[in-house]
């Protein structure tokens, strides 16, 4: 029994994802095709990039709501530079720099002003959305170069460049978290902040770095999204952050901090993507999709809560 619970806690998300995969393969014709799977990968690239580093931030015990705003605003900054100079590398760098700057602001608000990360990043969200409106002058921005669309859409070995970038970023994040001293300090900061501090971990610096990495990742995701859409527009759209948070939480990363893993988040991203894909292939009414999706998330999270309670 104890073993079962432990297994469910560690690999539950993997098991249900595989079950879903099998189910969809059996019940639909279009699911297990190269084209469909390639599309899923490409569509999820942005969420994967941000969710990997969101996992890290949540393991330190912090939330970052502003990821949605960074995702909207960073590509506007990038396109602003692209429009002004026509230089794509410079534009991408500007977008990433905007991400870094926004991450630093979040980090300072949490470590220096000592505001709870949820509140701090909710506040900075509005600031960052505002910056987006300022930079774009409240209009849809389009690239002036032909090369802009190639950022996310270049095909390399059948997969899009966005997919390759997402794979690369996810692997880097996973290595950082599991194979380095920094990763251990991330877990320690979330597992017991005071104990980590007394053990010589610079907890503020660890938190700051996670915020900066996360905002940079969100900026990268935003730039790739704007490349795929060949445009970007200012908005107050929080939907990206919810997609990212849902994946991390369904993946079983504890919102209390101190535990979680990137492979679980990645699995959860695919679980959620398969779910949506399956709905579409089965032509389920979008209204019902919402209801079922919400229910499935609740079930996933309560299984996690149950196994934590029983096993703990």
């Amino acid at each position: 029994m104890q073993k079962t619970i432990l297994f469910a806690r560690n690999y539950g998300i993997l098991v249900v994802t595989v079950l879903l995969l099998v189910l969809l393969t059996v019940t639909t014709e279009g699911f297990l095709t190269e084209r469909n799977l390639r599309n899923i990968l490409d569509q999820q690239s942005g969420v994967l990039i941000a969710a990997s580093f969101m996992t890290m931030a949540i393991i330190t015990g912090n939330f970052d709501i502003s990821v949605g705003a960074v995702y909207v605003t960073a590509p506007l900054v990038a396109l602003f530079v692209e429009n002004a100079t026509g230089n794509i590398p410079l534009a991408v760098l500007a977008g990433l720099a905007a991400g870094v700057a926004m991450g630093v602001i979040n980090g300072l608000a949490v470590t220096k002003l000592k505001v709870h990360s949820f509140i701090a990043t909710l506040s900075t969200s509005f600031m960052f959305f505002g910056v987006g409106y300022l930079v774009s002058d409240r209009a849809v921005m389009r690239p002036i170069t032909e090369g802009w669309r190639a950022l996310a859409r270049t095909r390399i070995f059948e997969l899009t460049s966005a997919t390759w970038i997402a794979i690369g970023v996810t692997i880097v994040a996973a290595i950082l978290l599991t194979r380095t001293r920094f990763g251990r300090n991330v877990y320690a900061s979330g597992a017991n902040r005071e104990a980590a501090r007394l053990a010589g971990v610079n907890v503020d610096r660890v938190q700051m770095i996670t915020f900066v990495l996360l905002a940079s990742a969100a900026a990268l995701a935003g730039v790739l999204g704007a490349s795929r859409a060949i445009s970007a527009q200012p908005s107050d759209d929080f939907s990206f952050i919810f997609a990212v948070l849902t994946a991390v939480i369904v993946g079983g990363t504890s919102i209390a901090g101190g535990s979680g893993a990137i492979w679980r988040t990645v699995t959860a991203v695919f679980f959620l993507a398969f779910l949506t894909n399956g709905f579409n292939l089965h032509q389920i009414d979008p209204i019902w999709q919402r209801l079922i999706q919400g229910f499935v998330i609740l079930v996933a999270v309560s299984i996690d809560a149950w196994s934590q309670r029983r096993g703990g």
């Binding site: 194979r179 251990r184 597992a191 010589g200 971990v201």
Partner: protein, 498 residues
């Protein structure tokens, strides 16, 4: 008042297992009203589990439990409370943000229609305080009260629900030594008021002093139950450990006073907390830092590590230091903090990560962490502390208190420090594990480490230290050594400034 002792609770053939682990087996005993009944045993002996079975935190795996001769079975503490069985746990279950009144009245508020009748509720709570002569300011915020007062609040909460049997689970484990006597008096007064009291503890002195009946548990088995008056310290130790106790403290070799001090603290101050603290510790020397809780002992230790700001001069290994905690640890300091749960360990992380946390740089290379080398080192140092664990991947909270403390010792020895600050190193640790922790400390001193030992247990300070500094109200009120180092001298100094 003539006391009548009625049998309130009967356990027959009671057992409890968690998963495949048997925690208790075949327990038969009775608990009477008007008596204080001790459950004693080492950590992991099952004494806390037995207490928790009685108050419904766990449910029985086998056997039967009777209250007033009627069989009961509980699946929640609320059901036990309905039968008058209440528990006061190690971790208090109060709402620290709310007032004493709110905490005691929770769920028992006097209602007027859908609204709370505040005045009648308050009267009810005050009546309970009056009846048991236990007074706590009803409007104080519970979080602002000292632990002993918080325990009172929890007891009052049980009493206001007409509890007839109260289980205290290690109530003094988190108490400063000067608060123990008042708590024991409180426990006695409950028995005198006709309540049955179960007192779960591994502090043998307290049991001998404050209880009427004692039940000894070892490895989940019932060893014996009898009047406390028939037991002695040695007989209890023998019952608890199953072996005759040798010397309680290890031999500590004389330090090398001719060698330059490992650490020299000069004029260390933190306004409002401690002032003008100066002392040296030589290689191989164990210096005790004694004093009442709140005297500034732990704060001095934290300042030396750099965890709190301070003024003054600290010379360590011949060099003046002022840097971050990380720099001081790297320079050869180590600390075992006062509270291992809150300040020492990551309870939900594997043992290996807990051991190596401050020392990761030595396992890091261009390719990141060398996890194989890390594990090997952690394994070696855990083994050297005689820690009992199944796997280095087990979480810290899977271990008993003594073994958790050994994680911190393994962390210390892995760092091979020049100075160890050990703050309450045996708090919440059972008799057998205590001795092995003393051996670890003495062993480090023998290797030439300087040790600053902080403890609320005077015996421990006297038994291990070469020299003792007594802190009172943030000042060094006395330095005792050799023949002058006695309990009386120590206590006199400790109370001198108050």
């Amino acid at each position: 008042m003539v006391q009548t002792h009625d049998i309130l609770l009967t356990l027959s053939g009671v057992g409890k297992s968690f998963g495949g682990t048997v925690a208790l087996t075949d327990i038969d005993l009775t608990v009477e009203t008007g008596k204080v009944h001790a459950f004693v045993g080492e950590n992991g002996a099952g004494k806390s589990t037995l207490g928790k079975l009685i108050v419904g935190v766990h449910s029985l795996s086998e056997g039967r439990m009777e209250v007033d001769g009627t069989e009961v079975s509980f699946t929640s503490p609320a059901q036990a409370l309905d039968h008058g069985l209440a528990g006061i746990s190690q971790e208090l279950s109060l709402m620290p943000q709310r007032t004493v009144l709110d905490n005691i009245a929770l769920g028992r508020e006097v209602m007027r229609g859908p609204f709370i009748n505040a005045r009648a509720t308050r009267r009810g709570v005050e009546a309970v305080m009056e009846r048991y002569a236990m007074h706590v300011d009803p409007d104080a915020r519970v979080g602002d009260l000292p632990i002993v007062e918080q325990q009172k609040v929890e007891i009052l909460r049980a009493l206001s629900r007409d509890a007839r049997l109260i289980v205290f689970d290690e109530p003094t484990a988190r108490l400063p030594s000067d608060q123990v006597a008042p708590l024991l008096a409180l426990v006695r007064s409950l028995a005198d008021a006709g309540k049955a009291v179960i007192y779960v503890s591994h502090f043998l002195e307290e049991i001998l002093e404050a209880t009427d009946t004692v039940t000894i548990l070892r490895n989940g088995r019932h060893i014996r139950t009898g009047p406390t008056a028939n037991e002695t310290h040695d007989s209890l130790v023998e019952g608890v450990t199953g072996s005759v106790l040798g010397e309680q403290y290890p031999e500590v070799a004389a330090p090398d006073r001719a060698a330059p001090p490992v650490i020299s603290v000069t004029g260390l101050s933190r306004p409002g907390v401690f002032e003008n603290v100066s002392f040296d510790i030589h290689p191989g020397e164990i210096v005790g830092l004694a004093g009442l809780v709140g005297s500034g002992r732990s704060e001095i230790a934290r300042a030396i590590l750099g965890a709190d700001p301070s003024r003054g001069k600290i010379t360590f290994n011949g060099r003046e230091i002022s840097g971050s905690i990380a720099a001081r640890l790297a320079g050869g300091m180590a600390m075992i903090p006062e509270n291992r749960r809150e300040q020492g360990l990551m309870m939900g992380r594997p043992i290996v990560e807990n051991v190596t946390l401050p020392h990761l740089s030595r396992f890091s290379g261009a390719l990141g962490l060398d996890r194989r080398r890390e594990r090997a080192a952690a394994d070696a140092h855990c083994a050297a502390t005689e820690m009992k664990y199944a796997s280095l991947n087990d979480h810290a909270d899977a271990l008993s208190g003594g073994n958790q403390q050994k994680i911190l010792f393994a962390r210390t020895t892995l760092g091979d420090p020049a100075l160890l600050i050990a703050d309450e190193p045996t708090r919440g640790v059972d008799v057998g594990a205590k001795r092995s922790i003393y051996d670890l400390i003495a062993g480090l001193a023998k290797q030439g480490k300087a040790i600053l030992l902080i403890s609320s247990e005077i015996e421990e300070i006297l038994g291990l230290s070469h020299r003792v500094l007594v802190v009172s109200r943030g000042r060094i009120a006395g330095e005792l050594e050799g023949a002058a180092l006695t309990e009386t001298a120590l206590m006199t100094a400790a109370f001198s400034g108050t």
